[in-house]
């Protein structure tokens, strides 16, 4: 068989878990008593995600308009009417994959919508720090192979990413040390995980990272540094130090904390080796951001306004726009089933979502269209937390009978063009 032929053949298909941005692909899933059961991992997050799906029966959810069941075609037509009547729509949630994001961009251009994901605040902590000062980051395979010191800043990621330590190679027999750095002001320290050392500092997280940066830079801080001086020495001595952090766990103005973390990394890299590892961007947030960025040149919180492409990292915060009633319609996308439910607001709402969100979209001026979940009912692609690897998602079941987000959005864009014509 020629290489060309063999390279075109179907490949074996491991399952990629779509429910967190680690996108683990070394576990199995089996159908048992009508449910999907995870094998090879005790990950609570994957189990919770799988619990929203039946292994026995295809979903029976139907689209509805104002709470009344209808077919997809009618729902798309109604959604097009709502968008056509809107002067400033907001596209929120953004729980979808690359294909959904590609289709969404065309619709966003047509409607002048502002786009901001459910995790917008966290996404923009990282993005604003990047836009201001840059960063030096690493990826999971590097951490697994190279890291001998991992400092988790502010929170222990395993609380929300149960496979985090395993993906970092902790417990594989290497000599990697894991430190959780927390301010005394944290309401309570995360329960100590096995093998994780706790270092605390008397101050809030802003003080903590600022003081650590000062220590690492060798500035005279005297006794004020407490245990941070020792931690700084360990960071300098490490062969490859990793500073892991979770943007979603940071307080308002969290970009300043990320900036300090990046400063620590930059200082270390003058003499030794270090890198940052952000954990976040799940439920489609970083994926949609990446796709919009490559298509348009600008990230999310951008709109195609009459004056041009406006990027407003602060003004185009979805929560702020909704609170200020600065938008007059909402398109909410939540295809994974693990996203926050669509906000209950007094505006026309179109929801493309997992069937479980149907109940949250009732009443006047609402359209609900159940959609397939990438990695469960359809194939797709999502970016891993480190941004370098775009993981393929395979469907667990052949066809769940639900349309993909991309399919609905393409039809919606066509319907809208028809409505405007």
């Amino acid at each position: 068989m020629s290489a060309l032929k063999s390279s075109s053949g179907p490949v074996a298909a491991p399952w990629t878990c779509p429910f967190c941005p680690l996108l683990c692909d070394s576990f199995g899933v089996a159908a048992e008593d009508g449910s999907w059961v995870l094998t090879g991992s005790a990950c609570g997050r994957a189990r919770a995600g799988l619990s929203h799906f039946s292994a026995a029966v295809a979903p029976t959810a139907q689209p509805h308009i104002d709470g009344v069941a209808c077919d997809v075609e009618a729902a798309i037509a109604a959604a097009a009417r709502l968008l056509a009547a809107s002067r400033q729509p907001l596209f929120g949630g953004l729980g979808t994959d690359v294909a959904g994001a590609r289709a969404l961009y065309a619709l966003a251009c047509r409607t002048g919508a502002v786009c901001d994901p459910a995790g917008g605040a966290a996404l923009f902590h990282g993005l604003r720090a990047l836009q201001d000062r840059g960063a030096f980051t690493t990826t999971l395979a590097e951490v697994r192979t190279r890291a001998d010191l991992i400092v988790c800043v502010g929170s222990l990621p395993s609380e929300r990413y149960p496979e985090f330590l395993r993906r970092c190679g902790v417990g594989e027999g290497g000599a990697v040390q894991v430190v959780l750095l927390q301010p005394m002001s944290a309401a309570s320290a995360d329960p100590a995980a096995e093998g994780v050392e706790l270092v605390r500092f008397d101050g809030d997280l802003f003080d903590t990272v600022a003081m650590l940066a000062a220590c690492v830079a060798g500035r005279a801080v005297g006794d004020a540094a407490g245990s941070l001086g020792a931690l700084a020495a360990r960071l300098h001595a490490a062969r490859y130090a990793v500073l892991a952090y979770e943007p979603a766990q940071l307080p308002p103005q969290g970009a300043l904390i990320i900036e300090a973390i990046n400063r620590v990394v930059a200082t270390l890299n003058q003499r030794s080796r270090a890198a940052a590892l952000p954990l976040g961007g799940g439920d489609g947030a970083s994926t949609v951001n990446a796709v919009f960025t490559w298509l348009s040149g600008l990230p999310l919180r951008t709109r195609a306004a009459p004056t041009g492409l406006e990027h407003e990292p602060l003004r185009f915060d979805a929560n702020r726009l909704l609170a200020d009633r600065a938008v007059d319609a909402l398109l909410w996308i939540a295809s994974f089933g693990t996203e926050p439910p669509p906000p209950i607001i007094d505006l026309p709402r179109i929801v493309l979502g997992h069937p479980r969100f149907a109940a949250a979209v009732q009443g006047a001026a609402t359209v609900f269209i159940p959609v397939s979940t990438p990695g469960i009912g359809s194939a797709g692609h999502l970016f891993r937390t480190d941004g370098s690897v775009l993981m393929p998602l395979r469907a667990l079941r052949g066809d769940d009978g639900l349309p993909t987000v991309a399919n609905v959005l393409k039809r919606l864009t066509r319907a809208l063009q028809g409505a405007n014509a």
Binding site: T137, A141, R273, G308
Partner: protein, 561 residues
């Protein structure tokens, strides 16, 4: 009824077929160049008298998609404004909003290349772990055909195999497997061994210096990869971004890299950044002549230039070691670096080239000197290493500099006085002809990539055609071709997009022994971040990534081994 289009009365420049400015018609049917049977009339005719006709341009080294390109966009939102105002929306209803400049969106990349008469572009630095992302971005670059070179030579597996003296056949099969898995058009090595060495805290790596951990040299890396590609029959030879980019005196590394090939074919990319001497009071001088002499003496070597253009840009490179070293020069002062997946890295450093800065002015002169001192245009490709030397939209300006001696002299006179007075460029009188420009921008790239039906206008070739109205101002002429056809469809007219299609994906599929997969599976289980069975991209998935564009596998050449 099949439509037949006749472009009547133009002067055809088609170096692949030895045609130089001959008055002849070009006839197109079903997306191909054809001859019109006697007595048959075309169904459509366009009068292009007063125009020059060339095949569509092919950019074989331009950073148009993938991880570091998107990081550059994220880093530089301030480039996407027009002063205090946002960038205006497109007036053309066929276009979706997309910013331009040095960090254009993929949509704008496609529109602007095509308006300029280019019909194919190749991303030179695709990481295997980022291949899906790269193909996605290229698939979202409208109209242009595209392909990418996958990066090897800094992946820990390759270095480990080389270090333990693994059987060459094994290394060759691993290279073959990687090309197939990533759906690449070739292989690029960036700072051979150096990106990995930086992860082990090594800050410099000369051609004969050992990687501090693996104890192998860039010379070994380059030679092994070049030999592997030769044995696999991959048409595009090893694409080399050499050691010590940007360092004064790096001409030595470049010459040693050429020697390391021992006659094996290779393409040295953005050589302008690798042709520096240490003479003069500032210990920084042009080594263009030395480089050109070496290229002239080594027919196994081709180059692209990586010309710099003055103004703001962003340098996006896989060379973490060198980008970290240069990050202090970032303007504005911010940069992004990353160690990536035990196979590569990246560094994104914004940069402003200033005409009154001695070093920048000399870099500009060095690039032009290289273009003008290498004898054989078939081994020189016109690039700015977009966006590293400047955006691809500056190509028409570059063409004017190369074809118009007095314009070049005017520009040189405006630069830093030491450069204006002393550059060897002052004494070079050569003006490139349209024929030579056509070689450097379409015919040579097609030949160097092994594209037999692109880059020329012979019967049977794809009807990718650019029609330029003759103008004494070469910059204006090459900025706005009168007509651009992609596979026979009119896609741009007088600088305005007239049809938006999805481009095709060029890749190669060399044969290799699949026994290598056992070892690769074991390696990825022990050290990787992704399940081995996820790594290879199949044709169906590639098609999805590329937005349904055509798959264009190029043939490998016959190998004797």
């Amino acid at each position: 009824m099949t439509t037949t289009l006749r472009l009547r009365g133009g002067r055809v420049i088609d170096p692949t077929n030895g045609v130089d400015a001959e008055l002849r018609d070009v006839v197109v049917r079903d997306g191909r160049i054809v001859t019109l049977p006697p007595g048959e009339a075309a169904t459509e005719e366009i009068d292009i008298s007063g125009c020059i006709v060339m095949a569509g341009g092919i950019d074989m080294h331009t950073h148009i998609g993938g991880g570091k390109v998107n990081l550059a966009r994220l880093l530089m939102p301030e480039l996407q404004r027009a002063g205090p105002n946002p960038i205006a929306l497109p007036s053309n209803p066929l276009e979706l909003a997309s910013c331009g400049g040095c960090t254009p969106g993929t949509l704008a990349t496609g529109y602007r290349y095509v308006e300029m008469g280019y019909t194919a572009a190749f991303e030179p630095a695709m990481m295997a772990c980022n291949a899906r992302h790269t193909h996605m971005e290229m698939g979202d670059t409208p109209i242009l055909d595209h392909g990418a070179y996958v990066m090897l030579g800094n992946d820990e597996l390759f270095l480990e195999m080389l270090s333990r003296g693994a059987d060459f056949q094994q290394i060759r099969d691993y290279v073959g497997w990687t090309i197939n898995a990533a759906k690449a058009m070739g292989v690029k090595v960036v700072n051979p061994g150096g990106i990995s060495a930086f992860k082990f805290n090594q800050r410099k790596l000369d051609v004969d210096e050992n990687h501090v951990h693996w104890q192998v040299t860039p010379r070994q890396v380059v030679h092994t990869l070049a030999k592997a590609l030769r044995e696999l029959g991959v048409p595009h030879p090893l694409h080399i971004h050499g050691s010590n980019l940007g360092v004064a005196g790096n001409i030595q590394s470049t010459l040693e890299t050429i020697n390391a090939l021992e006659g094996l074919p290779a393409h040295l990319t953005h050589v302008q950044f690798h042709a520096y001497g240490t003479e003069g009071p500032k210990k920084f001088s042009s080594a263009a002549l030395q480089l050109a002499e070496a290229v002239n003496a080594h027919p196994n070597v081709s180059i692209d230039v990586g010309q710099i253009m003055f103004g703001q840009t962003v340098t996006a490179s896989g060379d973490t070691m060198r980008q970290h070293a240069q990050s202090g020069l970032a303007s504005p002062h911010k940069w992004i670096g990353a160690d990536i997946e035990c196979e590569a890295g990246c560094g994104v450093v914004p940069f402003r080239y200033r005409d009154q800065n001695f070093v920048n002015a000399l870099q500009w002169a060095i690039g032009l000197e290289i273009f003008l001192l290498v004898n054989d245009p078939w081994r020189v490709v016109l690039t700015t290493d977009h966006p590293n030397g400047g955006p691809f939209t500056s190509y028409p300006h570059l063409i004017r500099l190369l074809t118009d001696r007095s314009f070049r002299a005017e520009q040189l006179a405006k630069l830093h006085p030491d450069v204006a007075a002393n550059a060897a460029l002052n004494s070079i009188t050569r003006e490139l002809s349209f024929y030579e420009i056509a070689i450097m921008t379409r015919a040579a790239p097609a030949r160097l990539l092994g594209l037999t039906d692109r880059g020329h206008l012979g019967v049977g070739a794809a009807a990718d055609i650019s029609v330029y109205r003759e103008d004494a101002d070469r910059e204006a002429m090459f900025t706005t071709p009168a007509y651009v056809f992609k596979d026979g469809t009119l896609v741009a007219r007088a600088g305005r997009i007239t049809a938006v299609s999805v481009g095709g994906t060029h890749f190669v599929a060399p044969d290799y022994d699949r026994g290598i997969e056992t070892m690769l599976r074991k390696h990825h289980a022990a050290q990787g971040g992704v399940n081995f069975d996820q790594l290879a991209i199949g044709h169906d998935e590639l098609c999805g990534c590329c937005n349904g564009g055509r798959l264009l596998p190029a043939s490998c050449f016959e190998t004797t081994s």
